[in-house]
Symmetry: C2
Subunit: 474 residues, 2 copies
Amino acid sequence: MGKTIMMTDNSLKLYEQVVHYLVVRIEAGEWTEHEKLPSVRSLSELLGVHRLTVFKAYQELKEHGKVYVKDKSGYYVSPADPAPIMDQADDPAVSAWLHWDSLDRVQSLEAEFQFSKSLIDPALLPNRFWGELMRDLLNHYPRLLGTYSTNQGDLELRSELASHLTSRERFYISADEVLITSGAQQAIDLIARSLVKPGDRVLVERPTYGPAMEIFRKQGAKLVFTDITSEGYDLDQIELLMKQEKPKLFYMTPTFQNPTGINIPVEQRKQLPELAEQYGCFLVEDDSTYDIYFKEKPPAPIFTYDTTGHTLYIRSYSKYVVPGLRIAAIMCRPRFMPGLQAMKTLADNGSPLLNQKLFLRYFQSPRMYQHISKLCTAIQLRMEVMEKCLKETDWRWTTPQGGLNIWVELPEGMDTGRLLHRCMEHSVAFVPGTVFDPSDPGASRKLRLSYSYAHEQQIYEGMSRLIELAHKKV
Amino acid sequence: MGKTIMMTDNSLKLYEQVVHYLVVRIEAGEWTEHEKLPSVRSLSELLGVHRLTVFKAYQELKEHGKVYVKDKSGYYVSPADPAPIMDQADDPAVSAWLHWDSLDRVQSLEAEFQFSKSLIDPALLPNRFWGELMRDLLNHYPRLLGTYSTNQGDLELRSELASHLTSRERFYISADEVLITSGAQQAIDLIARSLVKPGDRVLVERPTYGPAMEIFRKQGAKLVFTDITSEGYDLDQIELLMKQEKPKLFYMTPTFQNPTGINIPVEQRKQLPELAEQYGCFLVEDDSTYDIYFKEKPPAPIFTYDTTGHTLYIRSYSKYVVPGLRIAAIMCRPRFMPGLQAMKTLADNGSPLLNQKLFLRYFQSPRMYQHISKLCTAIQLRMEVMEKCLKETDWRWTTPQGGLNIWVELPEGMDTGRLLHRCMEHSVAFVPGTVFDPSDPGASRKLRLSYSYAHEQQIYEGMSRLIELAHKKV
């Protein structure tokens, strides 16, 4: 799998990709000051590139003062530099890579026309009603702010979620099969830390949510990729990978998939748990926008088809119910709970009780689903405006049935990393495809556009700028 | 260091300790269903015990259906059992070990006389005033509940903390040297994950906060222990360990040390940063009850004496300012920030903004320190009641100058693990010393009593029960 670690974006010279590979990891602290870096030989084997390429990359880093050479014993990390290499890189492509290797960095970019954040415009949320709930909250729980939650999460909230999902979505779970987390991000992290050991294989969709790949990599896992198309998964490919690579788990976002927006069809949802059982692979089903659909409700979660308890289901309400509270939940069979709870305890000793109780009050109020259906209409309108703009181009995309993103493919020869570089000069932000897909050369022609954060006028103007810049030949 | 992993409590037969060692890790998911366990040979080498001892432990686990044997190839983990082994163990000592190996488990025990939770009685907290702040909050930040925080933490809060600590406690830091975390627990976890690599040594106090040891162990670190006495540290021992073991960092709670309550003297606080620089070891200073003192303010944090930026300072306000918000902060030099921020992003994408802003409002109000000084008086009274009860015994302890705990040593032959077992039948909870000290045989005679959660009457009655039970010979 070594090769898949390696970016294969043709628009970048290979040695630049090695530079990028090293810089990102040095900055993430994978190697620290004065620590010896991998030898040219071992790195060239790991990345599947020629030794001269690695050598050239090290030379480049040396010139930028990022590494130094100790007599003949190899390359070492230089002490942290007040002006990091990325601000010195002149080649826009390298610079783009260095700035935009992670979703987090892209989304931290300030822009007037914000299509990189798959978040909901706060103006669309019932802030006033929440204010009333919050003012009311202390009457119900006078000592709320002085009290810790249990590590697994507030029992009242877990019971409410369990009975709600059971009655409304046929989950058939009890409160002890629910663990409250601080957003889906923490849910993925806890699952990875409790189930994945160094050397394990982890199966992921191609393309998929970048930070999840990063979490599994940090656990020492080797990533294995399975393709996702408008038809969904290729189950034969998945079965082959499960047989050959024996992945510990399959991390998936089967509903309004991130970034493609694709919904995995019901038939595949039924078959996946059987494959999971047959090959002893856990399914981690990350579901962050289940209720944000435009025409019809998406198919039932894979979890509801799993009769053998191989699925860990992450239901996040953090994006569209009350974002500021950062509430998500892991639903899984009790056998997973001791490990997950132990990790949750080490990670943060339990999510704040205030957030859980406030969320509970909203979740119990009839207002929540009224608001969510209004929200869906508002988001659909914005999606349609964005799609109208795209129709002016020869780009390719699939109309989303829900969720917050459109996944767009530009014609041959385009590079969305470079494009973002130009767009930022005009205050337009999006996420380049390579963030979601480290292994597909075509990813550098793709980009993810989120239509839920900017309002119609911003979408219209921002998209015009984006399209104009894309067609400027440079 | 292998041997230090091994408990050396004389009150337990050696094979029972091996049983405990295996059960805890199986339950924590370190080995999963049908996974092969270490061979008798390798485990006996790791733990430094005879092979027959390991063999006997495996037999015991086999009888309890916790492991099974596959032909001749070794021992494997049995599928999760609805009735875990620990509820089947008859020997009270084994049972005690199995239940009470972790602080989390001990603190989860329900008890009428609660001395195991080093938390503050919610009745002592200004819940009504917080309610006013909360009701008022949405007027200042109308879209608060719809907005995410940055990963490093709300800038307004970071600036306030930086200027406050700089003007009040001579920290001389800026907002970009502060990272907001969800409690000290997350702060330790983020630091461990960004700085510690498998095989690294980590220096810790003996005794120390159990979950911190667990975090470093999960990162693959080997723990090295340095003793703490009423005089503080033994700097010669620390220098020797830094020289020989080259620890990556030294995790310490130098102010109202947990569990001993000891304050490290100023002279040692000045010398430690010099040792840290000389041997390239980072200092992780965990400070969770700095403002809870009885007569005089504790010495300034080690961070304020560190001129070379080797100290990462964890200031937690989660215990005594607004517990329900779970707010703590890491203060460190900018070179650590990229790694910490990257981990915070993967861990939970930033702490909820609501909690940060609400904390900020309280932190800015003159009421906070007024309340904290009242709180100190109330807690001191409870401590004095507890100490009055202890004076009826021949046990040994040092009168705390602050913090929330008394560290007590019982006479030879006493075993606080067994004692807790009996106490729980009379609804009295405390933390046995072994939770804080895996390597000192004497730890089984010690216990930690928290005086901040129960009120005077409960302390008086609960202590009487505890002392009576301790003197019952069994």
